[in-house]
Amino acid sequence: MTVLRLDHVSVLYGRVSAVSDVSLAVDEGEIFALVGESGCGKTTLAMAVMGLLPRSAAVAGTIEFLGRDLTALGEDERAALRGDRISMVFQDPASALDPAFSVGEQIAETIRAHKPVGLREAKTRAIRLLEEVGIPDASRRYRDPPHRFSGGMQQRVVIATALANEPALLIADEPTAALDVTIQAQILGLMRELRRRHRTTSLLIAHDFGVVAQLCDRAGVLYAGQLVEVAPVAALFSESRHPYTAALLGALPSAEHARGALPAAPGQVPDLVSPPPGCRFQPRCPLRRAECDLVPPLAPVGDHLTACWATPETQALGRELAEARA
């Protein structure tokens, strides 16, 4: 069953085209990763799903959640879904929690906002959640304000808050980016454990492939707001089909790079106010050709979906289109 389906979703911030024509589907129980470098639109996409974009942002396309088109819903209805059926975990837990309230109260408040539950019951549940995410001495620490916790503990609290109402979809925006590597491992372990127990469908935003490899089933690669490749994680790493993904993976430091410079794709990320036509990676792409001025469709290539005119499967079509235009 598809939990989340994005159909030709684009997001415009004024003149900036942050997300361009993204379509993907996330199935029940899977952890789907959205990867890409900073500024590629992954957070924007996540916020669009949550409905938390600023008023100046324009969203096109449909965002279907459990069959309902979110873009057609009013603010009240979306608020009702947030924290209840769709939850989000942010990157920096310290700035996500309200410094003036205890952590327990913040979890309990999320529960009470969506379920007809009394104060005491909400507190009990909150304590249980704190225990589940690994906060020791939960019933006492319920009362503590966020600054009494370390970064890793704070993130556990945030995760507890997100999972409080057993959402159908959990969006995690680089949940370990602000934490030390050792804590990162702990949080990832926690998330693995929680996934095993609750089978929550998750959309994980990451720019760190290590995290993706440890946790996710499938991954989608974003570049300058365009979705360029989608594949099961193992397949993505072993043989990426899109030139950008290859460049991205190739640039990861490893033993192979023992000597010499890290390979990097030449050029820079395009200006999103006036991006190149068609495929936005083309100015830097070694496989570039004439037809790249047209946006390549996400075509199935083996068990990948790849948006590139240079794959064997799409080459012919690409050339045809180029000739038709000429």
């Binding site: 949550m50 938390l52 608020a79 009702a80 879904l81 947030r82 924290g83 209840d84 939850s87 989000m88 942010f90 920096d92 700035s95 996500a96 929690l97 309200d98 410094p99 003036a100 309230f101 408040e109 999320t110 906002a113 969506h114 304000p145 600054h147 945030v158 808050t161």
Partner: protein, 318 residues
């Protein structure tokens, strides 16, 4: 000792040296008068004998240090000296007048907060019309001199409409209703300017708070606007407001001096002005000290209240 208790203890302890320093300052102030204060006080009755007698009476012929300590000692015994001209006990005089000033300033601050904070919250998250109105009110309120507003109010409500009396006072304990009648215009005068200031501070603080990341997370949890603004944002935003209110109380005390003169209220402010014009130095000394002490105490209370609101005390120095 918990962090909080330590904070309270420190703040209270710091008040003592501040008060002492203040007393020294006030004491020296009066004695810096060029020429001989006694001669000025006596005016044409200043024969050398009279001057010497009065100087001795007031203890002005003793060394400075001993004068200071005997004055200080007097204060601890509750004796602030005598009004030189009327020979009334200064302590008695002040005891009668302090409640008036307190009533004026506290009522004004309360009204200003009651009006300013809600309006400030609305101005930070409401419609454009509300924001524009708030801006105009803020600028007008801050720019218009208190006492001028007072005269306008007197003109409209006392002279033209005859609804409220322009001057006079009845103590609260005697007749609450009459007291209300006499205090309405003075309180309105002080409160308006203050409310504008509070509104501005509230608006700025709320706007800043609403842009913080934790507010985004609150929205992500599905909380409604109402809960986010009033339960969460206001809580965090109120810290600067409390600080400003404390500082502004000092401004109010200053404003009270003028308003009391304008409306003929028998408070400490009016006493100071009259005393200065009479060159009644003992009175000036005692009243200035009392007003300053009042301000210091209010600051202490504000700091303590701030400590109550701010959960991060000790870990963060705001």
């Amino acid at each position: 000792m918990s962090v909080r208790t330590r904070y309270v203890a420190t703040r209270v302890a710091l008040t003592v040296p501040t008060l002492l320093a203040m007393s020294l300052f006030v004491f020296l102030l009066i004695r810096l008068v060029p020429g001989d204060p006694v001669r000025t006080m006596l005016g044409f009755r200043a024969t050398p004998e009279n001057v010497r007698t009065i100087r001795h009476e007031l203890g002005l012929d003793r060394p400075l240090v001993s004068q200071y300590f005997s004055w200080l000692g007097g204060i601890f015994r509750g004796d602030l000296g005598q009004d030189y001209i009327s020979h009334e006990s200064l302590t008695q005089l002040l005891r009668e007048r302090i409640p008036v000033t307190l009533e004026l300033t506290i009522a004004s601050m309360a009204l200003a907060l009651l009006v300013g904070v809600p309006l400030g919250v609305i101005a930070s998250s409401g419609r454009r019309l509300g924001k524009a109105t708030a801006s105009i009110f803020t600028i007008a309120g801050i720019s218009i001199p208190d006492f001028w507003l007072g005269t306008i109010l007197i003109l409209v409500f006392a002279a033209k409409l005859g609804w409220l009396p322009p001057t006079g006072y009845v103590p609260l304990s005697e007749d609450p209703l009459q007291n209300l009648r006499y205090m309405t215009l003075p309180v309105l005068t002080l409160a308006t300017g203050e409310a504008a200031y509070i509104l501005r501070t509230t608006r700025a603080s709320m706007q800043e708070t609403l842009e913080r990341p934790f507010v985004t997370f609150l929205r992500a949890k599905g909380l409604r606007r109402h809960a986010i603004v009033y339960k969460h944002a206001l809580r965090t935003a109120s810290l600067p407001i409390v600080t400003v209110a404390g500082i502004q109380f000092g401004v109010l005390l200053g404003g009270a001096i003028v308003v009391e003169t304008l409306f003929g209220l028998p408070g400490v402010g009016k006493l100071v002005v009259t005393a200065i014009n009479q060159r009644n130095y003992t009175v000036v000394q005692g009243s200035v000290l009392v007003i300053a002490a009042l301000f210091i105490v209010v600051n202490l209370v504000t700091d303590l209240f701030y400590g109550l609101l701010n959960p991060r005390l000790g870990e963060e120095r705001a």
